[in-house]
């Protein structure tokens, strides 16, 4: 009989808290968006599913051994941990968790060992998060794979499109200002680190956003990653109105001159030049852009096909599965269900809009002074969100003029945007990291 009661009292239903129920619903919503609406499914399917797993009551998949022991353990275990952390027996769980967070090496290890001895383990998702994100490895490996998938040909054929990739990053910094502004007004409560991490959403670059958030604001990582990927998926909806607003019909009609042929040698030199430049000017961007250049060099050098192929397929897929589930493990109700998340979603949207606008305006400006015509529509591709943003530019170009194929021209600013936001990330890490 007691077994029956145990079974019931330890069931999910009995222990389900409202927050968990809501977060499970959020997870299902993300799955719906990914599967039915095709919102970045490669990331949002694992993230959504991970979010559901993380909110299963009593399973503790997203918690460390100590957290699980404190939640599920009997008083003797809890007291043992309290003492391991230098508190007196009978301290309440909140206090113990706080002490655990700020404990020094010895007592930290003692607490962990105590929990393990009492037969509590790290949750699966907690382990995945530690290995893939806390170590910083997963976003970097994905960036390597992205580098191996990136063709810098269009950028090399027309290097000044790099300016568009620069302009579009204004969205990032404007958002930072917005975040601190809202805090100053007392509407939100973000530290400068939080603000910086939120701003990077405007970079429209998933791995960069996750990498920065893991360094500057791990507690916001879930919301930031979700916002970043959702808005990247929404690019086809967010950008067109802004682009139409800022350009005239005649500007959109503008055809650009055929891109010159780019030699293999140039493509091999480019990642090395970029690497050296980063090394000399901004070491803090070296991990991100270093791995990106490494992937691109493997792609272009032509002598390591099998490595490049693995980096673009088996490896990036494996890492994506773990990264997605790990991000999902951060979708806990206490961290996700608060006003800040709303703020993050709002600010992320603003960041995208401003970035798009600045890209377009910059393109208009350049068109004034450029010898060859530059269609302002390609400016919006500077936010990156490869390759959707470029496709959007192409689509609007064709609407205005059926002969106007902008895709290749938009790929330049598109990949420039990836570099731009990685540089911006480096600056953030340097200044507030």
């Amino acid at each position: 009989m007691d077994k029956l009661i145990l079974l019931f009292t330890s069931s999910g239903l009995f222990n389900l808290q409202l927050g968990q129920a809501v977060m499970i619903a959020v997870g299902l919503l993300l799955l719906f968006l990914a599967i039915k609406k095709n919102f970045e499914p490669l990331l949002l399917v694992p993230i959504g599913f991970g979010g559901i797993l993380a909110n299963i009551p009593e399973a503790g998949l997203a918690f460390s051994a100590v957290e699980n022991a404190l939640h599920l353990g009997g008083p003797e275990v809890i007291n043992a941990i309290a003492q391991a952390l230098g508190l007196d027996a009978g301290a309440d769980t909140m206090a113990i968790k706080a002490a655990y967070g700020s404990s020094d090496a010895a007592s930290h290890l003692l607490a962990v060992q105590t929990a393990l001895d009492a037969n509590f383990n790290n949750g699966m998702l907690y382990n995945f998060y530690t290995i893939s994100i806390a170590s910083g490895a997963a976003p970097l490996l994905i960036f390597m794979g992205v580098g191996a998938m990136t063709d810098f040909g269009p950028l090399l054929a027309n290097p000044k499109t790099l300016f568009l990739g620069a302009a579009a990053q204004f969205g990032i910094f404007a958002t930072v200002l917005g975040a601190v502004g809202l805090t100053a007004m007392g509407v939100m409560d973000f530290s400068i680190k939080d603000a910086a991490a939120i701003g990077i959403i405007g970079g429209a670059d998933g791995p960069t956003a996750i990498y920065v958030a893991s360094l500057l604001a791990p507690h916001l990582l879930g919301a930031i990653a979700v916002a970043a990927y959702s808005y990247m998926a929404l690019v086809p909806m967010i950008q067109p109105p802004i682009m139409r607003l800022l350009t005239t019909e005649s500007e959109r009609k503008l055809q650009m001159t055929q891109l010159r042929h780019v030699s293999k040698t140039e493509k091999i030199f480019f990642p090395l030049l970029l690497l050296i430049l980063v090394a000399m000017l901004l070491p803090d961007a070296a991990p991100l852009l270093g791995m990106f250049c490494f992937g691109n060099l493997m792609r272009e050098c032509g002598v390591v096909e099998r490595l490049s192929d693995t980096a673009q397929n088996a490896l990036i897929n494996i890492v994506t599965i773990f990264l997605g589930l790990s991000v999902g493990s951060k979708l806990s109700s206490d961290k996700f269900l608060d006003l800040n998340t709303l703020g993050i979603l709002l600010l992320g949207m603003v960041a995208f809009a401003i970035g798009t606008a600045c890209g377009v305006l910059m393109a208009k400006l350049m068109n004034k002074f450029s010898s060859t015509p530059i269609n302002p529509l390609i400016g919006s591709a500077g936010v990156s969100a490869v390759p959707m943003a470029a496709r959007v530019s192409n689509k609007l170009g064709l609407e205005a003029n059926p002969q106007n194929f902008l895709l290749m021209h938009a790929m330049g600013p598109n990949v420039a945007g990836v570099i731009g936001s990685a540089v911006a990330a480096g600056v953030m890490i340097k200044f507030v990291g």
Partner: protein, 83 residues
């Protein structure tokens, strides 16, 4: 006080951040352009080869999988050990 402080931090971050991004990418534009000119001057793509080798890169760009496929197949036969 604390608020204005935060705002100031945000402003400096914006000014220096945006500034740095522009400086960096401007440098990249120039270096890249220089590199391209130097490459065209000193390491031009062999003309005769271009006639024959042109298809290859073209194929590579429009459907990478064909190349991937061929190289995969070839690899499976005579890929050297990665050692």
């Amino acid at each position: 006080m604390e608020a204005t402080n935060l705002i100031n931090e945000g402003l400096t971050l914006m000014v220096f951040g945006m500034g740095f991004v522009f400086v960096f990418l401007t440098l990249l534009v120039f270096i890249t352009g220089m590199m391209s000119r130097l490459v065209e001057r000193f390491i031009p793509e062999p003309q005769p080869v271009l006639a024959t080798a042109a298809p290859a890169p073209v194929a590579a760009t429009d459907d990478g999988q064909l190349v991937a496929v061929i190289s995969a197949a070839i690899k499976q036969y005579r890929s050297r050990h990665p050692r």
